[in-house]
Symmetry: C2
Subunit: 673 residues, 2 copies
């Protein structure tokens, strides 16, 4: 009889492999399937993200149909149909019913899906909760018919099993349809499929998405642009942030014959010349085969790479939304709230963490119908995908909470935490690798590099907000003063002149001296036959003014607008138009008019007016021209600015900053009063 | 020439398997390795948890040495040595350098590690950041020598690779040592190795852990008990919360010949009789082979299982800490803060979620050196493992924040969020499957069942706190009254008697009538030769009292105590002693004394005094005997209570609650005043 097994033998006998599918089956909360509401949202999200990714890769404008229907009290049927390129028959089982299988994990490029987990996890959850297979229909352009497969995921093997298969005719050239029956609960409001689709539409204005809810409600998000975002390119790893072990893998895996070629061709940012230099610094022969670089020589090579001044990482593997589309997306979705202020969105330049490039974009909206007594709303996005859960665990929320928003005009208890006020923040992180806190991809993990960029972007956005708020209070103050002066001074003059028996004097010099502003008044006037924006610019300053006026409208509004007089120039895609105004004497006024077809959906808030030729402190009802507009200033103003600079230099005041207003004042100082 | 590949073909060509190790290498934040500080903590945690699990399984009192030493500026060497059973040579590579390989995943039993990921992830991270192999030394009792292996994890295959191997003599009968060199940063304070080891010691008082920090500081956490917690048993899945798909897997995988046997023997809580009944309800023959139950019959079977009244889940697969050890652990670690109040810890009965049993334990500490103006501290534990990161994303924190603590005497802005005050909460969730939010096991995911139990446990603990706080304010009020009466009344009586020329009256009836409390005074007196606790019990009530006095001391203090007079009984393990006091007339007083050796580390706060025979509202300086003490009351009091109940019934006041105080009053009503 053999001796009884020892403790160590007993323990050893229990050691087993764990299939990744078994692991996730037991830990389904990690994948975002821990309750029926979240399971529904995760399923919709994975299917929608895959569909948009596929259509974009095939350079097709995404057109999605998302249907959620009730099967029984606790079961829903989710079907997502796209116009993507379709999937070859042989790939369908693995793509939909095998975890950790996909096309995007090994490519160094921004994409929504990357892990090869999402949609197979939804299939696994559906199998598990309703014992129903997933039904996939897919047609590629080169075949006549579509394949229809019913699939389950064998968790013990993490392998797909085809339950049934058919070939059908499908009335579309190409596309894919995923149908799942799962234990789920339909909700509206926050964290609902509607919320998800709406948020997706904000940052993906090139997509058309139709959502059909269980009660039959059909909501269509039309695309706001027909321009596909440029396809993010695949890039090589960048040496910044590369770990020793990773360098080892790369050296071992490369096919380049020499280490010099490996550095210059397999890494980003290393030129042939800098490769030679840094190999010399590391005392490694340039002709050495990469696989022979081991141990300490790897360390020396990495040290040299870190010390070298390399080219910055390329950003063409990223697909930022861009300021223009952030603003347009926000306007599109928040239009009904009529916010008083859309800050110019902030797009930070790309940075690198752990060899992967990333960038941060931030938009801020303020006022209007946004609730003033609640925590501000934070719309979080990662690679154009909305993040709806785990806000508290997200690096974005953390960066927002660590900023002292009281300095920027919002309320905040103790100077930390999510601030209170009628504001909304949109934060987008784009990267070839987003560090999510879990496979459910609902929150971004803390990272010092990322946190720094988030903070800088949020600070820039917050400064815009502070400028707006201080400008607003200054305007309110100026408006009051204006109203009082306009009323009281003429009456005072009238009374006084009656008393002394003289005709009332010309008040212009007095009023302009007290007011000292250029006022822009631009209401929206609706009439049955048309909508007009009559614009009045009045020079309430004591000097003559040569001004340029700039308008920024939603591009679709500009497209149907007519102007009197005609603008000096327009930029239709950006929705911009500009005029050089006739020289305005003190108290002088000029008018122009924008005419739109009847019922054009436009509000005064939708049009931004900018003025060049007068500085911010002397401007009311418009903003100074932002520095990033690429528009030539009229020669008169430029010349005046140069003359003023020369004058100032001559007067020994060369250390003062030159601004156009000072220049203008100098240029016109002789015809003053 | 073949035609160029179509889009679908191009995409298909990119589809690839992703190795789980590659996946985690790129997503190391999911495993808890996203920055050098967290990487260190995760490494220490995984090694310590494995060591304690292994020792417990072998029924050995865990004895751990945790060494952290500096290698270079950004590299640390971590070594954890245990006295566990050791690991067989053939299992070492897989256990330490292969993800998703382990002995505990498939067992339905509470353990610290379950996933077969943790320590291999640490090895992967070490390989990646320093290119250094892990060094494992392990000796099993039945072999003479220890095996030493150097290992790396091949990420593309998720397989271990043995770099070197040796056999050495080791001066211990059995055990394992893990040594890793990794990119890491050493910190002290919160989220440090010291913090982790200290928190581990709180809830694992049977462990001895020595920590050596990089500067050589050596901290020893001695074990507070030599009782190993009972080994949690493996159990069968319970039908409550079983999903359809899971039932399908079980039916397919069982070896039982009939479905009736399957139900009764492969599931927990189903008796042979209820199996027959519910099969009849589902219209399935009891003799049907399990694998033949498919589709709709599976659904009917699951419906019957859900509707059946089954036995509650067994809790012997769980290893709760228990009230006594929670209190002892907290005292042990928080002793220096001298909190004024340790609430009796709350242990909820086990419940089931998704077929897995779980239970919640909560301890509350209040006052002393805990900061009064900060958010309360929450010590979170899952299966006796401290959770140090991701507090904001954890179901425990969420449950704490959702309770309105203002009702329980703590400050809380708006009635939600972590409350403010000098309190500390210990919350332990024990389960055969903890739903962590990610593989790093730092936060517990939201779950309605779990949330309910957490809330109930927190409410119970909070009620203890409220009772303490209101008792405290009542005592303060009574003490003031007491001081005034003791001073003023005698003076008043003296003056008055002088005026009327009579001797001062006996004030006892008046004072006791106004005071109406039993006062317990028990200071700690330190002298060079010994420490004493002189106890004075005074009956400031207008009736004679028969009282029992109970003391609860730290067991190690009780072990060295001598009493005068000797107690009627003691319970050494629980640190309890009790006395029946001589009958006390109004204003009567009795004394007893506890003597301890010189320098015994004990404070007045470390001893709790309880009194039976008088109700809470007439008790000062002690608490009423808690209901859960299993002590027989002296006969006099029991008889008096029964007599009082009979009297009350006779007087038609039978609907009033009987309490010992009322009983006592009734029993002694004739010799009153």
């Amino acid at each position: 009889m053999p001796p009884p097994p020892t403790i160590a033998q007993q323990l050893a006998a229990k050691q087993r492999d764990i299939s990744i599918a078994e692991f996730f089956e037991r830990n389904r909360q990690i994948l975002g399937f821990d309750n029926p509401q979240r399971a529904l949202l995760t399923t919709v999200k994975e299917a929608v993200d895959n569909s948009i990714d596929a259509a974009e890769e095939a350079r097709v404008l995404p057109d999605l149909l998302v249907e959620v229907a009730k099967e029984t009290d606790e079961r829903l049927r989710v079907a997502v149909t796209d116009n993507g390129p379709g999937i070859l028959r042989r790939e369908i089982p693995n793509v939909f019913a095998r975890l950790l299988y996909g096309s995007r994990f090994h490519s160094n490029r921004q994409a929504r899906g990357q892990q090869g987990i999402g949609i197979s996890a939804a299939v696994l959850y559906a199998n598990l909760t309703t014992a129903r297979p997933a039904r996939i229909t897919s047609k590629v352009e080169e075949e006549e018919a579509a394949h229809v497969l019913e699939l389950v995921l064998d968790t013990q093997k993490n392998q797909p099993r085809v339950v049934s298969e058919d070939v059908v005719l499908w009335d579309r050239p190409h596309g894919t349809r995923v149908e799942l029956v799962l234990k789920a609960r339909y909700t509206r409001g926050r964290q609902s499929p509607l919320d998800y689709v709406r948020s997706t539409a904000i940052v993906n204005p090139h997509c058309r998405i139709v959502l059909v809810e269980p009660d039959g409600t059909r909501t269509t998000f039309e695309r706001a642009t027909t321009d596909l975002p440029p396809l993010a390119k695949e890039t090589l790893p960048h040496p910044f942030g590369l770990e020793l072990g990773e360098l080892g893998y790369l050296l071992k895996g490369t096919r380049r014959p020499t280490v010099a070629e490996f550095l210059a061709k397999d890494l980003q940012g290393v030129s042939a010349r800098s490769a030679k230099e840094l190999l010399a610094a590391a005392k490694i022969p340039a002709s050495e085969p990469p696989a022979k670089i081991q141990a300490e020589r790897q360390e020396r090579l990495l040290d040299s790479l870190r010390a070298a001044s390399l080219l910055a990482p390329s950003s063409d593997c990223l697909s930022p939304i861009g300021s223009l589309l952030i603003k347009r997306g926000l306007r599109n979705v928040l239009g009904e709230l009529r916010p008083e202020f859309f800050a110019p969105p902030v797009s930070r330049p790309p940075k690198v963490r752990g060899g992967f490039p990333f960038m941060v974009e931030v938009g801020v909206v303020y006022g209007g119908g946004l609730p003033a007594d609640q925590a501000i709303q934070i719309l979080r996005f990662a690679n154009r995908v909305p993040l709806l859960f785990q806000q508290g665990a997200c690096a974005i929320t953390n960066a927002v909470g660590n900023l002292d928003w009281r300095r920027y005009g919002l309320e905040q208890k103790g100077g930390s935490g999510v601030p209170i006020g009628p504001a909304l923040l949109l934060v987008h992180v784009a990267s070839t690798k987003i560090p999510f806190t879990s496979e459910a991809k609902e929150a971004i993990a803390e990272d010092p590099e990322l946190d720094k960029e988030l903070t800088l972007a949020l600070q820039a956005a917050a400064r815009h907000l502070r400028t707006h708020l201080s400008r607003k209070s200054r305007r309110e103050f100026a408006s009051e003063k204006f109203a009082i002066i306009q009323k009281i001074l003429p009456k005072l003059a009238e009374k006084t002149s009656q008393l002394v028996g003289k005709p009332p004097p010309d008040l212009t010099p007095v009023i302009t001296r007290i007011m000292d502003v250029v006022n822009v008044d631009a209401p929206v006037v609706r009439a049955p036959e048309r909508v007009t924006l009559p614009v009045e610019v009045t020079n309430y300053t004591p000097r003559p003014r040569v001004l340029e006026l700039f308008a920024e409208l939603p591009p679709e509004v500009l497209a149907v607008a007519t102007f009197a007089p005609a603008p000096d120039g327009t930029e239709p895609e950006l929705g911009r138009a500009w005029w050089t105004l006739p020289k305005l004497a003190p108290n002088g006024r000029t008018k122009l008019e924008v005419s739109l077809p009847p019922k054009t959906d436009v509000e005064a808030n939708d049009v931004d007016w900018y003025v060049a030729g007068v500085d911010e402190s002397h401007l009311l009802g418009a903003d100074p021209l932002p520095g990033d507009w690429d528009v030539r200033l009229p020669r008169t103003i430029v010349e005046a600015a140069e003359a003023a600079a020369q004058d100032a230099a001559a007067a020994g005041a060369a250390d003062e900053e030159v601004d156009y207003d000072a220049a203008e004042a100098s240029a016109s100082s002789r015809d003053d009063e």
